[in-house]
Amino acid sequence: MFGPFRFTNPLSGGLLWKIPWRLSRFQKLRQRRRLRAVDNVVATLDEALAKKGETLKALERWKAEMPTEAQMLPKDKYTLFDRSAKRYRKGIHKLPKWTRVSQRVNPPGY
């Protein structure tokens, strides 16, 4: 029960990583800030180009497809689709480089 040879999960099974299955509220706060920062960059580009009467294919596509932070559901801000996960959702922090990539929409039908 006690002592150096007790049967805890890391000792009996070897490597045990404890990654929480959901984000903490502080992680969620920072995630919202990052989403808003990207929204700001896109809005700045859009305004600056609109003044000159120019536009950009990538910009138009982003505006047509991607919701802004305010339009997104909490579900889409903090989780993403995964076909192998239970109920098809997993935490967005499982996505590699999740703080530096844009992941906002779901596959069609989900």
Binding site: A37, A48, K51, L56, A58, L59, S102
Partner: protein
């Protein structure tokens, strides 16, 4: 008057695809918090769009030199001495003033509690 993009690298591209590194190099961004200026043109907007998660962008009237950018975040030289504030936030002093014991001019060390 052409506008300019003021672009600051806020997040590093370490571990991101080689293309992302290339875009940052093309923009002239080498280290975090470095600021560069580029004219408002679709080609530069497209490059910013590629790295929009990593940069902070503003539209400005004219580009600043590196020296001017550095001056923005350099504090004033020298120092100034702050006067100590009364410990109770000045409440007793106010009451004394209301009672007429202390005139506005003679607030000094004697009254500090």
């Amino acid at each position: 008057m052409p506008g300019w993009f003021r672009i600051t690298l806020y997040r590093s591209a370490i571990g991101l695809p080689e293309r992302t590194h290339g875009v940052l190099k093309a923009l002239g961004l080498r280290r975090r918090m470095q600021t560069v200026f580029h004219p408002v043109e679709p080609q530069f907007a497209g490059m910013i769009m590629k790295v929009k998660e990593l940069v902070l962008v503003e539209e400005v009237d004219r580009p600043k030199t590196n020296w001017e950018v550095k001056q923005e975040r350099t504090p004033e030289p020298g120092f100034y001495v702050e006067k100590p504030a009364p410990r109770d936030g000045g409440r007793v002093l106010q009451q004394l003033r209301q009672l007429g014991n202390v005139k506005a001019g003679e607030v000094d060390e004697e009254v500090r509690l």
